[in-house]
Amino acid sequence: MQKYITQQNLNTLIDTLIASGTRVVAPRMSAGIPLYEPLDSSVEMVTDQLPRRSAKEAFFPVCEEIMSYEKEGQQIKLTDIDPARFPETVLVGVRPCDAAAIPVLDAVFSWDYKDEFFLERRRKTTVIGLACTTADDACFCTAVGLSPAETRGSDLFLIPLNGGGFACQSYSEKGEALISNNSALFSEPNNAAPLPLAAPQADKIDLKKVKSWLDGHFEDTLWDGIAVRCVGCGACAFVCPACHCFDIVDEGTEKAGKRRKSWDACGFWKFTHHASGHNPRDLQPKRYRNRIMHKFKYYDDKFGQTLCTGCGRCVRVCPVGIDIAAIVEEISKK
């Protein structure tokens, strides 16, 4: 259903949700940089900048405890984390490139193994997308088939209108429920024209052609040329809304400790480092090739989706200026 909400009402919506104990996560300034973080009040929300980290964090945390152990005498006591205890969350002000990545992640986390940690958080979260009005030359969502007004992944999608307020459209029961529960704050759609959306920064790339090239070029000089520059950090993977690899490690002392799941990146040397000392992807080009292959080939082979929403974060943070958009474009021309 189509609705309209003023900026003021949106703020009251957020504040009422917070008051009711729901965790409202939205972009806000935190220690000098914009990040998706739980709000204390709606006034903190900042919508003009793309947060440094993606919204995947609400479902796939940077680091979470999944179990704890304690030794009493000769036995060991294990306590699991009950996913039912994840907090109710409303994600507000999510950019289309972040929101679109969420369904992409759903595929892998509900594949042969149902990752309850992810899925439970998904079930308990309502995503309110916001059309994108500011973009820089690093953005290339249009190149991968998305757009500043892409509604994929949002339960509710807001489009900023000329003269203030947002046109909102619900795309799931959660969206409808949110509107019906707070119907007072919503009014009938007025026909004000939407504010100009962000201008597309890159023209569409034929991903099918890219995938087909990748199918046949596991060994290619292209990889050495690009990846010899890569220093093997995890910045691109960690800020990427779509990357979902994680590491599980036990931390604590001999007596007691916790098993924690935290982000990992295929760019790291130790990602594929075997206990024997052998490393199938010992050189950086092999590791960087895997990043491109996973995003534009393997994920397509398995789930028919592209593991990249063109948000441009990896281009901005790469220490050595490796630009995935340029690479994909180069491949599409081969």
């Binding site: 964090e57 945390p61 940077v62 979470e64 704890s68 994840f86």
Partner: protein, 166 residues
């Protein structure tokens, strides 16, 4: 020497990293001379102060120590000739770093105690214990250990106690 130790509300946990040739032997001498001192200190024996890595001090604070003492041979007396000279420079740099991060240097004491200075060992340990007792528990690292990234927090009451219990 130590008047009957009245029950204090806060018993600081003091960890001492000492070299075996001088300070450990000094502590032994304090023992053989039956000198009394507060029982808060736990001593870890190293071959030399040269072997004491700054990460151990960091690990000690993380494991809940309220005060850390590092003590070894007087310059020139080192059984391994130069171990304590290297340690002196290493800790001169490390304490500046900790100070810059915000650790109160009153909790980190360094001293030279020779094998003949049982009294000085007792004095150094007692001073640090009483000073740290007055400063109260070292909350910085203890609170830090409980903090989580916002996304990893599961804010249900029972779990909060579980956290506090460890």
């Amino acid at each position: 020497m130590h008047s009957e130790n009245q029950k204090h509300d806060f018993e600081p946990k003091i960890i001492a990293f000492v070299c075996t040739w001088c300070t450990y032997a000094g502590a032994d001498l304090a023992g053989t001379s039956r000198m009394q001192y507060p029982s808060n200190v736990r001593v870890l024996k190293f071959p030399c102060t040269g072997r004491i890595d700054p990460v151990f001090i960091l690990k000690a604070f993380q494991q809940g120590a309220d005060g850390v003492l590092v003590s070894g041979c007087h310059p020139g007396d080192c059984h391994y000739i130069a171990g304590n000279f290297h340690a002196r420079r290493r800790f001169a740099a490390f304490r500046k770093l900790l100070e810059f991060i915000g650790v109160d240097l009153g909790r980190l004491a360094f001293s030279w105690v020779s094998a003949a200075e049982g009294g000085k060992w007792v004095e150094v340990v007692t001073d640090l214990t009483e000073k740290v007792r007055a400063m109260g528990p070292m909350v910085e690292f203890k609170d830090l250990a409980l903090e989580e990234q916002w996304s990893g927090v599961i804010n249900t009451p029972e779990l909060q106690e579980a956290y506090d219990a460890i």
